[in-house]
């Protein structure tokens, strides 16, 4: 075993491999930072190029992109409140608030450092416990997915802050929008008004860009005359202090652990993982009221969780040959180009290559921190741009990004409509978080409940009393009831 670890390490400790890895991380950060461009796209476009590289060099570049994208997506989330990837939504809640307080540097620093810690944690679990994690992931049948989604949806109350009723209504709107498209079981079109463009439902990314990006611009424009709270251009320090580390440690641990587990489950990734981690960190925090208003604990939980989904998804992909998320689906193709078949046999036949991948992801994580910390200062200069430039830039990138996702103009319209809706919601003080949760989790909840009922032949009790499902149902009930009970007492 130890010779295989050393072989794996030596195969990647070459300046060419490390060079491709750095190129990948920077490219990934750029892809992640531009809303609409995704890590999946970056990896897919560059996969044919790796034809002419060795397996280690090619995978170095692709894994670099994979690792760099989510921390990259955190940068616009922190600086301008536009999440670059769906996984950075929770990052924007606290990150943007911090940068409004003149702590953009600290937020960017935490984003870089905690992304690294999250990725390293999940890779450590991949290296030591790949098969137990994979078999846990396989236990997730339709009923378990339904439980996970229901639990996620119960967090709507938590992310609504004090405006619970408005939050619930926004959540319902999100769930209704999630119903547009082909019925997941019968493939019958629902709410498509005869338009083929709506058959696959409403794309999430343009809606996200609109709700957060465009709505932010509109809000700032509408408030431009009350220039009391223009964002301070100050960057502040980048590295967290020891007292801040102490605060972050619990949130970060929760984020990295939950993120790895959620990431390992196929079809659930960093977007769901980070919201769940953020909410759990809020529950155990002593300063709950700060969450969403610039809590470094919240930011730590979200950042750590986003990138730990990578180790989880890679675990599923390498051990089972089944992709844990969209990027790892592309990576399967890239591995096959180099004659490597992911699956249970990979660990027996090519153990040293598996360790090469582990080391590559670990080095990528360290590069993320280095590049993120070095880049924080120049990036934060964006805040010193005149507001009008910034607004025009957000609208421009938002439009291009919405189109680039599927090369479909209907997505650009979705972005603009979502932007106006988001603006009106903000003016009416209706929280947007629940709407996003409904849109992400609605399809997962619906299709898996219906699958579970097919499997159990319509029997609800048998389905819902399996251990993991029961765990999620109890957690859901607690997350809804405990705040009510506490309020009664006080």
């Amino acid at each position: 075993m130890s010779t295989e670890i050393i072989d794996g390490l030596l195969a990647v400790l070459q300046w060419k491999v490390l060079g491709f890895l750095s190129v990948g991380v920077v490219l990934g950060a750029i892809f992640g930072a531009l809303p609409g461009l995704t890590a999946t796209m970056g990896v897919a476009i560059l996969t044919p190029l790796t034809f002419w590289l060795s397996a280690e060099e090619g995978l170095a570049m692709l894994l670099g992109i994979y690792g760099g994208a989510i921390p990259g997506g955190g940068i616009p989330a922190i600086l301008i409140n536009v999440p670059g990837t769906p996984a950075s939504i929770a990052t924007s809640w606290d990150g943007y608030a911090l940068s409004r307080q003149g702590k953009a540097g600290l937020a960017l620093g935490i984003n870089a450092i905690l992304s690294t810690i999250g990725q390293l944690t999940s890779i450590f679990f991949l290296a030591v416990a790949a098969f137990p994690i994979a078999s846990f992931a396989l236990r997730f049948g339709p009923a378990e997915y339904f439980g996970l989604a229901l639990f996620g949806i119960s967090l709507m109350a938590g992310v609504s802050g004090k405006r619970v009723i408005q939050g619930m209504l926004a959540g319902m709107l999100g769930l209704s929008l999630a119903m547009v498209g082909l019925d997941p079981m019968t493939a019958y079109p629902r709410y498509t008004f005869g338009q083929a463009e709506f058959l696959d439902g409403i794309s999430f990314v343009p809606v996200m860009i609109g709700l957060f990006g465009l709505a932010e611009v509109l809000t700032q424009i509408s408030e431009r005359n009350k220039t009391t709270d223009t964002p301070p251009a100050a960057l502040g320090r980048i590295l967290p202090r020891l007292t801040e580390w102490k605060k972050m440690i619990v949130g970060a641990a929760a984020g990295a652990g939950l993120g790895t587990l959620v990431g390992a489950v196929p079809a659930a990734g960093g977007d769901i993982g980070s919201v769940i981690s953020w909410e759990q960190a809020r529950r155990i925090s002593r300063e709950k009221e700060k969450f969403g208003k610039g809590s470094i604990e919240g930011l730590a939980a979200s950042c750590a969780s986003c990138n730990s989904a990578i180790g989880g998804a890679m675990t599923t992909m390498l051990t089972l040959g089944i992709p844990g998320d969209a990027v790892s689906a592309v990576l399967i193709g890239a591995l096959m180009i180099h004659g490597i078949q992911p699956g249970p046999l990979l660990f027996r036949d090519k153990a040293s290559f598996v360790f090469s991948l582990v080391f590559l992801m670990a080095f990528a994580a360290i590069l993320i921190m280095a590049i993120g910390l070095l880049g924080a200062r120049p990036l934060a200069r964006a805040l010193r741009l005149p507001n009008a430039w910034l607004w025009a830039g957000i609208v421009l990138f938002g439009t291009v990004g919405s189109y680039a996702l599927n090369n479909a103009i209907v997505d650009v319209w979705a972005m603009f409509v979502a932007g106006i809706v988001g603006f009106l919601f903000r003016k009416a003080n209706i929280p947007l978080g629940p709407l996003v949760l409904g849109l992400i989790l609605g399809p997962m909840m619906e299709s898996n409940l219906r699958r579970a009922l097919i499997l159990s032949r319509g029997d609800w009790t048998g389905t819902l009393t399996q251990p993991i499902v029961l765990f999620f149902l109890v957690a859901t009930a607690l997350s809804l009831l405990v705040p009510l009970i506490k309020r009664r007492k006080t």
Binding site: T40, F140, A187, L320, A326, V327, P342, N406, A408, I454
Partner: protein, 323 residues
Amino acid sequence: MLSGMLRCSASLAVVVGISFSGCSSTSGPFPSKELKLIVQASPGGLSDSVSRIMASLSEPDLGVPVVCENKPGASGALAYSYVVRRPPDGYTIGHAAVEIAMVRALGYADIGPEDVDLICLVSKSPPVLVVRADSPWKNFSDFVDAARKEPNSLIMANSGTGSIWHFNTLLMEQYADLRVTHVPYNGSSGSLASLLGGHVDAVIAGAGEAVANVAAGRLRALAILPPSRSQIYPETPTTHELKYPFGVPAWSGFFAPKGLPQDVLVRLEAAFRKAFETEEWRKLCHERGMEAEFLNSEDFQKFALDQGIFFGAEIPKLLTMKR
């Protein structure tokens, strides 16, 4: 005399062809600028890999970049409708998957293989029926017997209602006279994960998608569905050998808007044929469980029209089959 006339008309045709393609906004021989290849699926799937690899393998011969653009949605209907509305100058072409012969019968868009100019077919992906290695069914007839004994008792996952693997499952029900309970997932990764996790009994998926777990001894391949054996499952009998002649593969080819000038069509076909003959393409096909098979424009046209007629007749029948 006759050959002289032929030669004359041939050269005339070439001149006319060139002048026509010359009219279409560019001058000089085709291609003089980059080609756009519209992929009907998201980045990462088999269609996307085939398109991107074929694009990069045909670039040296064409001498211009071939840029892939993904337009996923409605089983490919959005991309197909987009490509047929482009000018037929060869600069916008599309990846044609089996769904181009299915979307009309599925009701997603009024488009089929007869509405486009097909350039060539480059691969077929055979379906395979797999069960868990610890399941009691050692071969196809065990499975058929169990399914017949108690109709709808066995649960089979598929990659989505209306998908090609779902239709293969329905075809199996029809040809082997059995009934199973269907659970649709979003793609084969979902259906295979639910099989590995013990949530369902069997899955029909692409041969390449299941091969890693079959090789590792976690899944057992009971039958391969096209007429000939698969190079990656040499031991597994075909349904045709088993006297149940059913099964339709997924396939990959390229098409252009209708009315493509003959010389442009010939040029593209030749470029793709060269790419097809490379070692890289063989390798990719082998590793992803596809059969490398080349059909030229004429044969592909025949094949795809047949498929369109087949799906047009079978899809409504299979979806309303008595359960």
